[in-house]
Protein backbone atom coordinates (compact mmCIF):
# COMPACT_ATOMS: atom_id res chain seq x y z
CA UNK A 1 0.00 0.00 0.00
CA UNK A 2 1.21 3.45 -0.87
CA UNK A 3 1.62 5.81 2.04
CA UNK A 4 2.99 9.05 0.64
CA UNK A 5 2.87 10.07 -3.00
CA UNK A 6 6.28 9.59 -4.57
CA UNK A 7 8.56 12.62 -4.80
CA UNK A 8 9.28 13.20 -8.49
CA UNK A 9 12.14 15.54 -9.35
CA UNK A 10 12.06 14.83 -13.07
CA UNK A 11 8.89 16.87 -13.60
CA UNK A 12 8.35 20.60 -13.48
CA UNK A 13 8.06 21.79 -9.86
CA UNK A 14 7.03 25.14 -8.40
CA UNK A 15 7.89 26.66 -5.02
CA UNK A 16 5.09 26.54 -2.46
CA UNK A 17 6.70 27.34 0.89
CA UNK A 18 9.92 29.23 1.55
CA UNK A 19 12.63 28.22 3.99
CA UNK A 20 11.42 30.22 7.01
CA UNK A 21 7.88 28.92 6.61
CA UNK A 22 9.14 25.35 6.50
CA UNK A 23 11.45 25.76 9.51
CA UNK A 24 8.67 27.26 11.63
CA UNK A 25 6.17 24.67 10.39
CA UNK A 26 8.29 21.68 11.38
CA UNK A 27 9.59 23.39 14.50
CA UNK A 28 6.01 23.90 15.56
CA UNK A 29 5.20 20.31 14.69
CA UNK A 30 7.82 19.04 17.12
CA UNK A 31 7.17 21.54 19.91
CA UNK A 32 3.39 21.29 19.60
CA UNK A 33 3.43 17.50 19.81
CA UNK A 34 5.81 17.61 22.78
CA UNK A 35 3.51 20.08 24.51
CA UNK A 36 0.49 17.99 23.59
CA UNK A 37 1.76 14.71 25.00
CA UNK A 38 3.25 16.26 28.13
CA UNK A 39 0.02 18.21 28.60
CA UNK A 40 -2.28 15.22 28.14
CA UNK A 41 -0.64 13.81 31.25
CA UNK A 42 -2.77 16.27 33.22
CA UNK A 43 -5.83 16.28 30.96
CA UNK A 44 -6.41 12.54 30.89
CA UNK A 45 -6.84 10.25 33.84
CA UNK A 46 -4.76 7.16 34.37
CA UNK A 47 -1.91 7.95 32.03
CA UNK A 48 0.97 7.48 34.44
CA UNK A 49 2.79 5.57 31.71
CA UNK A 50 2.70 8.67 29.52
CA UNK A 51 4.16 10.76 32.33
CA UNK A 52 6.81 8.09 32.89
CA UNK A 53 8.13 8.61 29.34
CA UNK A 54 9.07 12.14 30.34
CA UNK A 55 10.43 11.13 33.73
CA UNK A 56 7.30 11.53 35.81
CA UNK A 57 4.95 14.44 36.30
CA UNK A 58 7.69 16.91 37.21
CA UNK A 59 9.69 15.88 34.15
CA UNK A 60 6.65 16.20 31.91
CA UNK A 61 6.06 19.67 33.33
CA UNK A 62 9.64 20.66 32.55
CA UNK A 63 9.50 19.31 28.99
CA UNK A 64 6.15 21.09 28.53
CA UNK A 65 7.65 24.43 29.55
CA UNK A 66 10.82 24.06 27.49
CA UNK A 67 8.83 23.06 24.40
CA UNK A 68 6.41 25.93 25.02
CA UNK A 69 9.24 28.47 25.15
CA UNK A 70 10.73 27.08 21.93
CA UNK A 71 7.31 27.25 20.31
CA UNK A 72 7.02 30.89 21.31
CA UNK A 73 10.50 31.65 19.95
CA UNK A 74 9.55 30.00 16.65
CA UNK A 75 6.46 32.21 16.48
CA UNK A 76 8.70 35.23 16.94
CA UNK A 77 11.14 33.98 14.29
CA UNK A 78 8.27 33.54 11.85
CA UNK A 79 7.02 37.07 12.49
CA UNK A 80 10.48 38.65 12.27
CA UNK A 81 11.94 36.81 9.29
CA UNK A 82 8.88 36.18 7.16
CA UNK A 83 6.56 39.04 7.91
CA UNK A 84 5.76 39.38 4.22
CA UNK A 85 4.82 35.71 4.12
CA UNK A 86 2.42 36.15 7.02
CA UNK A 87 0.79 39.14 5.37
CA UNK A 88 0.27 37.30 2.09
CA UNK A 89 -1.05 34.30 4.06
CA UNK A 90 -3.60 36.53 5.80
CA UNK A 91 -4.49 38.18 2.49
CA UNK A 92 -5.16 34.77 0.99
CA UNK A 93 -7.35 33.78 3.95
CA UNK A 94 -9.33 36.99 3.44
CA UNK A 95 -10.11 35.93 -0.12
CA UNK A 96 -12.60 33.43 1.30
CA UNK A 97 -15.42 33.34 -1.25
CA UNK A 98 -17.97 31.22 -3.12
CA UNK A 99 -15.37 28.76 -4.39
CA UNK A 100 -14.22 28.15 -0.83
CA UNK A 101 -17.77 27.59 0.36
CA UNK A 102 -18.32 25.11 -2.48
CA UNK A 103 -15.10 23.40 -1.51
CA UNK A 104 -16.14 23.04 2.13
CA UNK A 105 -19.57 21.75 1.07
CA UNK A 106 -18.14 18.98 -1.06
CA UNK A 107 -15.22 18.31 1.23
CA UNK A 108 -16.81 15.46 3.24
CA UNK A 109 -17.21 13.42 0.03
CA UNK A 110 -13.78 14.34 -1.21
CA UNK A 111 -12.34 13.46 2.22
CA UNK A 112 -13.45 9.85 1.96
CA UNK A 113 -12.29 9.53 -1.61
CA UNK A 114 -15.42 10.06 -3.72
CA UNK A 115 -14.73 11.84 -6.98
CA UNK A 116 -16.15 15.36 -6.84
CA UNK A 117 -15.80 18.39 -9.03
CA UNK A 118 -14.26 21.32 -7.20
CA UNK A 119 -14.03 24.92 -8.38
CA UNK A 120 -10.56 26.50 -8.75
CA UNK A 121 -8.90 27.39 -5.46
CA UNK A 122 -6.49 30.12 -4.44
CA UNK A 123 -3.20 29.40 -2.71
CA UNK A 124 -5.09 27.87 0.21
CA UNK A 125 -8.35 26.07 -0.41
CA UNK A 126 -11.48 26.50 1.70
CA UNK A 127 -10.43 23.84 4.19
CA UNK A 128 -6.89 25.13 4.47
CA UNK A 129 -8.25 28.62 5.03
CA UNK A 130 -10.29 27.27 7.93
CA UNK A 131 -7.26 25.51 9.34
CA UNK A 132 -5.20 28.66 8.84
CA UNK A 133 -7.65 30.60 10.99
CA UNK A 134 -8.39 28.06 13.71
CA UNK A 135 -4.99 26.52 14.43
CA UNK A 136 -2.90 29.71 14.76
CA UNK A 137 -5.66 31.37 16.82
CA UNK A 138 -5.78 28.40 19.16
CA UNK A 139 -1.99 28.24 19.42
CA UNK A 140 -1.86 31.93 20.31
CA UNK A 141 -4.55 31.34 22.94
CA UNK A 142 -2.55 28.39 24.24
CA UNK A 143 0.60 30.49 24.47
CA UNK A 144 -1.13 33.38 26.24
CA UNK A 145 -3.11 31.24 28.70
CA UNK A 146 -0.03 29.10 29.25
CA UNK A 147 2.15 31.98 30.38
CA UNK A 148 -0.67 33.28 32.57
CA UNK A 149 -0.83 29.92 34.33
CA UNK A 150 2.96 29.72 34.52
CA UNK A 151 3.31 33.09 36.24
CA UNK A 152 -0.02 33.44 38.03
CA UNK A 153 1.23 35.91 40.61
CA UNK A 154 1.69 38.72 38.08
CA UNK A 155 -1.80 38.35 36.56
CA UNK A 156 -5.20 39.04 38.15
CA UNK A 157 -6.79 35.97 39.77
CA UNK A 158 -9.84 36.15 37.47
CA UNK A 159 -7.62 35.93 34.42
CA UNK A 160 -5.77 32.95 35.89
CA UNK A 161 -9.08 31.16 36.45
CA UNK A 162 -10.18 31.79 32.87
CA UNK A 163 -6.81 30.62 31.58
CA UNK A 164 -7.33 27.00 32.69
CA UNK A 165 -10.48 26.22 30.67
CA UNK A 166 -9.17 28.36 27.80
CA UNK A 167 -6.01 26.25 27.65
CA UNK A 168 -8.13 23.08 27.54
CA UNK A 169 -10.56 24.24 24.86
CA UNK A 170 -7.79 25.67 22.70
CA UNK A 171 -5.81 22.44 23.11
CA UNK A 172 -8.76 20.32 22.00
CA UNK A 173 -9.60 22.44 18.95
CA UNK A 174 -5.96 22.79 17.92
CA UNK A 175 -5.39 19.06 18.31
CA UNK A 176 -8.48 18.26 16.21
CA UNK A 177 -7.18 20.52 13.46
CA UNK A 178 -3.70 19.05 13.75
CA UNK A 179 -5.07 15.51 13.45
CA UNK A 180 -6.90 16.39 10.25
CA UNK A 181 -4.10 18.57 8.92
CA UNK A 182 -1.46 15.95 9.63
CA UNK A 183 -3.43 13.32 7.77
CA UNK A 184 -4.57 15.46 4.83
CA UNK A 185 -1.10 16.85 4.37
CA UNK A 186 0.51 13.46 4.06
CA UNK A 187 -1.37 10.18 3.65
CA UNK A 188 -4.54 11.44 1.99
CA UNK A 189 -4.32 10.21 -1.60
CA UNK A 190 -5.52 13.45 -3.15
CA UNK A 191 -3.60 16.02 -1.21
CA UNK A 192 -0.51 14.09 -0.20
CA UNK A 193 1.64 15.95 -2.73
CA UNK A 194 1.35 19.02 -0.52
CA UNK A 195 3.57 17.17 1.95
CA UNK A 196 6.50 17.76 -0.42
CA UNK A 197 5.52 21.41 -0.60
CA UNK A 198 6.22 21.70 3.08
CA UNK A 199 9.10 19.23 3.25
CA UNK A 200 11.15 20.19 0.19
CA UNK A 201 9.42 23.47 -0.59
CA UNK A 202 8.18 22.57 -4.05
CA UNK A 203 5.17 20.78 -5.53
CA UNK A 204 4.55 19.31 -8.96
CA UNK A 205 3.41 22.03 -11.32
CA UNK A 206 0.56 19.90 -12.68
CA UNK A 207 -0.65 19.20 -9.11
CA UNK A 208 -0.55 22.92 -8.31
CA UNK A 209 -2.46 23.70 -11.50
CA UNK A 210 -5.07 21.12 -10.63
CA UNK A 211 -5.48 21.84 -6.91
CA UNK A 212 -4.79 25.54 -6.62
CA UNK A 213 -5.58 26.81 -10.09
CA UNK A 214 -6.05 30.44 -9.13
CA UNK A 215 -2.80 30.55 -7.18
CA UNK A 216 -0.87 28.78 -9.93
CA UNK A 217 -2.16 31.12 -12.61
CA UNK A 218 -1.35 34.22 -10.57
CA UNK A 219 2.08 33.10 -9.48
CA UNK A 220 3.51 30.96 -12.24
CA UNK A 221 0.94 31.12 -15.04
CA UNK A 222 0.28 33.57 -17.85
CA UNK A 223 -0.99 36.26 -15.50
CA UNK A 224 2.29 36.29 -13.58
CA UNK A 225 4.25 36.68 -16.79
CA UNK A 226 2.08 39.54 -17.93
CA UNK A 227 2.74 41.59 -14.81
Amino acid sequence: MQWLPEYKDDVERVERFNFVARITHWGHTVTFLLCLFTGLVLFLDGVDWLAAIFGGYAGAGLVHRIAAVLLTILLAIFVVFDFKGIISWIKDILRFGMNDIKFVMSFPLEFFGFPVKIPPQTRFNGGEKGNSIVTPTMVILLVLSGYIMWFPSIFPAGLVRVAYPTHDIAMILATCMVCMHGYLGSFHTGSGESFWGMWKGTVRADWAKHHHAVWYEETYGDKADAE
Partner: protein, 269 residues
Protein backbone atom coordinates in the same frame (compact mmCIF):
# COMPACT_ATOMS: atom_id res chain seq x y z
CA UNK B 1 -21.61 9.46 59.88
CA UNK B 2 -22.44 12.92 61.05
CA UNK B 3 -20.39 15.87 59.93
CA UNK B 4 -17.92 16.87 62.59
CA UNK B 5 -16.97 20.49 62.48
CA UNK B 6 -15.42 23.41 64.30
CA UNK B 7 -17.55 26.28 65.53
CA UNK B 8 -15.56 29.48 65.85
CA UNK B 9 -17.17 32.26 67.85
CA UNK B 10 -15.56 35.62 67.07
CA UNK B 11 -17.13 37.23 70.13
CA UNK B 12 -15.26 34.89 72.45
CA UNK B 13 -11.89 35.00 70.69
CA UNK B 14 -9.11 37.07 72.28
CA UNK B 15 -6.66 36.57 69.44
CA UNK B 16 -4.16 34.83 71.68
CA UNK B 17 -3.16 32.71 68.70
CA UNK B 18 -2.82 29.59 70.76
CA UNK B 19 -4.59 27.77 67.92
CA UNK B 20 -1.90 28.86 65.50
CA UNK B 21 0.81 27.45 67.73
CA UNK B 22 -1.11 24.25 68.46
CA UNK B 23 -1.64 23.75 64.72
CA UNK B 24 2.07 24.20 63.98
CA UNK B 25 2.90 21.88 66.84
CA UNK B 26 0.60 19.02 65.88
CA UNK B 27 1.28 19.21 62.16
CA UNK B 28 5.02 19.67 62.75
CA UNK B 29 5.19 22.78 60.62
CA UNK B 30 8.36 24.83 60.71
CA UNK B 31 8.27 28.50 61.68
CA UNK B 32 7.75 30.99 58.86
CA UNK B 33 9.11 34.40 59.64
CA UNK B 34 7.67 37.34 57.75
CA UNK B 35 8.61 41.01 58.17
CA UNK B 36 6.62 43.23 60.52
CA UNK B 37 3.94 45.11 58.62
CA UNK B 38 2.52 47.32 61.37
CA UNK B 39 -0.17 44.87 62.34
CA UNK B 40 -0.53 42.24 65.01
CA UNK B 41 -1.07 39.72 62.28
CA UNK B 42 1.78 37.22 62.15
CA UNK B 43 1.62 36.42 58.44
CA UNK B 44 0.10 38.05 55.41
CA UNK B 45 -2.09 35.00 54.87
CA UNK B 46 -2.07 31.30 55.55
CA UNK B 47 0.92 29.74 53.85
CA UNK B 48 2.39 26.34 53.08
CA UNK B 49 3.64 25.97 56.66
CA UNK B 50 0.87 27.90 58.42
CA UNK B 51 -2.51 26.21 58.04
CA UNK B 52 -4.36 28.64 60.27
CA UNK B 53 -3.86 32.27 61.24
CA UNK B 54 -5.69 34.98 63.11
CA UNK B 55 -6.33 37.92 60.81
CA UNK B 56 -6.65 41.43 62.24
CA UNK B 57 -8.88 44.17 60.88
CA UNK B 58 -8.78 47.73 62.15
CA UNK B 59 -11.33 50.27 61.00
CA UNK B 60 -12.67 53.58 62.19
CA UNK B 61 -16.34 54.40 62.40
CA UNK B 62 -17.50 57.99 63.18
CA UNK B 63 -20.22 56.68 65.50
CA UNK B 64 -18.74 53.67 67.23
CA UNK B 65 -15.11 54.77 67.10
CA UNK B 66 -12.19 52.48 66.39
CA UNK B 67 -13.15 48.94 65.68
CA UNK B 68 -10.60 46.20 66.05
CA UNK B 69 -11.72 42.77 65.01
CA UNK B 70 -9.97 39.52 64.36
CA UNK B 71 -10.92 36.22 62.89
CA UNK B 72 -9.41 32.76 62.63
CA UNK B 73 -8.92 31.63 59.05
CA UNK B 74 -8.17 28.17 57.72
CA UNK B 75 -9.63 25.74 55.19
CA UNK B 76 -13.43 25.91 55.20
CA UNK B 77 -13.84 22.24 54.22
CA UNK B 78 -16.65 23.17 51.80
CA UNK B 79 -19.13 20.39 51.08
CA UNK B 80 -18.95 21.35 47.39
CA UNK B 81 -15.21 21.89 47.26
CA UNK B 82 -13.76 23.71 44.26
CA UNK B 83 -10.30 22.23 44.91
CA UNK B 84 -11.77 18.74 44.60
CA UNK B 85 -13.49 19.64 41.34
CA UNK B 86 -10.42 20.99 39.59
CA UNK B 87 -7.70 18.65 40.86
CA UNK B 88 -6.52 16.70 37.78
CA UNK B 89 -5.02 13.93 39.89
CA UNK B 90 -7.91 13.44 42.33
CA UNK B 91 -5.68 14.30 45.27
CA UNK B 92 -8.61 15.68 47.25
CA UNK B 93 -11.07 13.46 49.09
CA UNK B 94 -13.86 13.96 51.59
CA UNK B 95 -13.75 12.08 54.85
CA UNK B 96 -16.86 10.55 56.35
CA UNK B 97 -16.98 13.41 58.81
CA UNK B 98 -16.87 16.11 56.14
CA UNK B 99 -13.23 17.17 56.14
CA UNK B 100 -11.56 17.87 52.80
CA UNK B 101 -8.30 15.97 52.75
CA UNK B 102 -5.37 16.52 50.43
CA UNK B 103 -3.13 13.57 49.60
CA UNK B 104 0.44 14.80 49.03
CA UNK B 105 1.37 11.53 47.33
CA UNK B 106 -1.07 12.21 44.51
CA UNK B 107 -0.38 15.94 44.33
CA UNK B 108 1.82 17.04 41.45
CA UNK B 109 2.03 20.67 42.49
CA UNK B 110 0.06 22.11 39.56
CA UNK B 111 -1.78 24.51 41.90
CA UNK B 112 -5.08 24.45 40.02
CA UNK B 113 -6.73 24.25 43.45
CA UNK B 114 -4.96 27.36 44.73
CA UNK B 115 -6.60 29.47 42.06
CA UNK B 116 -9.99 27.79 42.13
CA UNK B 117 -10.53 28.03 45.89
CA UNK B 118 -12.93 30.89 46.75
CA UNK B 119 -11.05 31.31 50.05
CA UNK B 120 -7.55 31.02 48.53
CA UNK B 121 -6.58 28.32 51.01
CA UNK B 122 -4.44 25.64 49.29
CA UNK B 123 -0.88 26.95 49.31
CA UNK B 124 2.11 25.81 47.35
CA UNK B 125 5.08 24.38 49.28
CA UNK B 126 8.04 24.98 47.06
CA UNK B 127 10.54 22.68 48.77
CA UNK B 128 8.31 19.67 48.12
CA UNK B 129 6.58 20.88 44.96
CA UNK B 130 3.24 20.11 46.61
CA UNK B 131 0.22 21.96 47.86
CA UNK B 132 -0.68 21.91 51.56
CA UNK B 133 -3.62 22.95 53.70
CA UNK B 134 -5.53 22.36 56.93
CA UNK B 135 -6.81 18.81 57.40
CA UNK B 136 -9.32 19.57 60.15
CA UNK B 137 -6.91 17.30 62.06
CA UNK B 138 -8.43 14.24 60.38
CA UNK B 139 -5.69 12.11 61.91
CA UNK B 140 -6.75 13.24 65.39
CA UNK B 141 -10.51 13.18 64.88
CA UNK B 142 -10.36 9.65 63.46
CA UNK B 143 -9.12 8.62 66.90
CA UNK B 144 -11.83 10.53 68.70
CA UNK B 145 -9.67 13.52 69.58
CA UNK B 146 -10.59 17.12 68.90
CA UNK B 147 -8.54 19.14 66.40
CA UNK B 148 -5.41 20.72 67.84
CA UNK B 149 -6.74 24.27 67.47
CA UNK B 150 -10.04 23.51 69.22
CA UNK B 151 -8.36 21.54 71.98
CA UNK B 152 -6.02 24.37 72.87
CA UNK B 153 -8.54 27.23 72.71
CA UNK B 154 -8.54 28.83 76.15
CA UNK B 155 -11.65 30.96 75.87
CA UNK B 156 -14.00 28.46 74.31
CA UNK B 157 -14.17 30.39 71.05
CA UNK B 158 -13.46 27.13 69.24
CA UNK B 159 -15.60 24.11 69.88
CA UNK B 160 -15.65 20.85 67.99
CA UNK B 161 -18.51 18.45 67.48
CA UNK B 162 -21.55 17.41 65.47
CA UNK B 163 -22.40 20.06 62.89
CA UNK B 164 -26.15 20.00 63.62
CA UNK B 165 -25.58 20.48 67.32
CA UNK B 166 -23.09 23.26 66.77
CA UNK B 167 -25.41 24.93 64.28
CA UNK B 168 -28.12 25.10 66.94
CA UNK B 169 -25.61 26.46 69.39
CA UNK B 170 -24.47 29.08 66.87
CA UNK B 171 -28.04 30.18 66.21
CA UNK B 172 -28.69 30.64 69.91
CA UNK B 173 -25.47 32.59 70.25
CA UNK B 174 -26.34 34.86 67.32
CA UNK B 175 -29.74 35.56 68.89
CA UNK B 176 -28.03 36.48 72.12
CA UNK B 177 -25.49 38.71 70.41
CA UNK B 178 -28.18 40.50 68.38
CA UNK B 179 -30.04 41.28 71.59
CA UNK B 180 -26.90 42.47 73.32
CA UNK B 181 -25.30 45.14 71.18
CA UNK B 182 -24.41 43.32 67.98
CA UNK B 183 -27.41 43.85 65.68
CA UNK B 184 -25.47 42.58 62.66
CA UNK B 185 -24.36 39.34 64.26
CA UNK B 186 -24.63 36.43 61.87
CA UNK B 187 -23.69 32.83 61.18
CA UNK B 188 -21.22 32.12 58.40
CA UNK B 189 -20.86 28.72 56.83
CA UNK B 190 -24.43 27.53 57.23
CA UNK B 191 -25.51 28.13 53.64
CA UNK B 192 -22.47 29.60 51.90
CA UNK B 193 -21.44 27.47 48.91
CA UNK B 194 -24.12 24.98 49.89
CA UNK B 195 -22.70 24.70 53.38
CA UNK B 196 -19.21 24.74 54.84
CA UNK B 197 -17.91 22.20 57.28
CA UNK B 198 -16.70 25.12 59.39
CA UNK B 199 -19.10 27.37 61.26
CA UNK B 200 -18.52 30.95 62.28
CA UNK B 201 -20.42 33.18 64.68
CA UNK B 202 -19.65 36.71 63.55
CA UNK B 203 -20.40 39.90 65.48
CA UNK B 204 -20.79 41.83 62.24
CA UNK B 205 -21.30 41.24 58.53
CA UNK B 206 -18.77 38.86 56.87
CA UNK B 207 -17.13 41.60 54.79
CA UNK B 208 -15.92 43.26 58.02
CA UNK B 209 -13.82 40.15 58.60
CA UNK B 210 -12.46 39.85 55.10
CA UNK B 211 -14.72 36.92 54.26
CA UNK B 212 -16.39 36.79 50.86
CA UNK B 213 -20.04 37.77 51.42
CA UNK B 214 -21.36 35.47 48.75
CA UNK B 215 -18.60 33.00 47.91
CA UNK B 216 -19.11 31.02 44.73
CA UNK B 217 -17.22 28.65 42.53
CA UNK B 218 -16.56 30.59 39.31
CA UNK B 219 -18.95 29.52 36.54
CA UNK B 220 -16.12 28.86 34.12
CA UNK B 221 -14.69 26.30 36.56
CA UNK B 222 -18.01 24.44 36.76
CA UNK B 223 -18.44 24.53 32.99
CA UNK B 224 -14.88 23.39 32.48
CA UNK B 225 -15.03 20.52 34.96
CA UNK B 226 -18.55 19.31 34.20
CA UNK B 227 -18.74 19.75 30.43
CA UNK B 228 -15.48 20.52 28.68
CA UNK B 229 -13.20 18.12 30.53
CA UNK B 230 -15.37 14.99 30.32
CA UNK B 231 -17.02 15.40 26.90
CA UNK B 232 -15.29 17.93 24.68
CA UNK B 233 -12.08 15.94 24.49
CA UNK B 234 -13.84 13.16 22.55
CA UNK B 235 -13.60 15.36 19.46
CA UNK B 236 -9.97 14.31 19.17
CA UNK B 237 -10.53 10.54 18.87
CA UNK B 238 -13.44 11.28 16.48
CA UNK B 239 -11.07 13.20 14.23
CA UNK B 240 -8.49 10.44 14.40
CA UNK B 241 -11.12 7.83 13.56
CA UNK B 242 -12.34 9.90 10.59
CA UNK B 243 -8.79 10.16 9.28
CA UNK B 244 -8.23 6.44 9.68
CA UNK B 245 -11.50 5.72 7.84
CA UNK B 246 -10.55 8.10 5.07
CA UNK B 247 -7.13 6.47 4.80
CA UNK B 248 -8.83 3.20 3.93
CA UNK B 249 -11.76 4.47 1.85
CA UNK B 250 -9.72 6.81 -0.36
CA UNK B 251 -7.47 3.92 -1.29
CA UNK B 252 -10.36 1.53 -1.94
CA UNK B 253 -12.28 4.09 -4.00
CA UNK B 254 -9.17 5.11 -5.91
CA UNK B 255 -8.71 1.51 -7.04
CA UNK B 256 -12.37 1.24 -7.92
CA UNK B 257 -12.28 4.28 -10.17
CA UNK B 258 -9.30 2.86 -11.98
CA UNK B 259 -6.95 5.83 -11.66
CA UNK B 260 -4.20 6.27 -9.16
CA UNK B 261 -6.48 8.57 -7.29
CA UNK B 262 -3.61 10.96 -6.97
CA UNK B 263 -4.62 13.91 -9.00
CA UNK B 264 -6.85 12.97 -11.87
CA UNK B 265 -9.93 11.85 -10.02
CA UNK B 266 -10.42 13.13 -6.54
CA UNK B 267 -7.95 14.98 -4.48
CA UNK B 268 -8.41 18.64 -4.08
CA UNK B 269 -7.22 19.07 -0.56
Amino acid sequence: MANLTNLYDVSKCTACRGCQVACKDWNQLPATIEPFTGSYQTHEDTNADTFTIIKFFESEDPVTGVDWSFIKRQCMHCFDAACMQVCPKGAYTKTETGATLHDPDKCIGCQYCSYACPFEIPKYRKREDKVTKCTLCADRTAEGLTPACARTCATGALTFGDREVLLQKAEDRVKYLRANGYPNATIYGKLELGGLNKLYVLTDTPDKFGLPVNPHIPKNISAWQNVIQPYFGWLIPVMLAASATSFVTTRILANKHGGHGEHEEGGHE
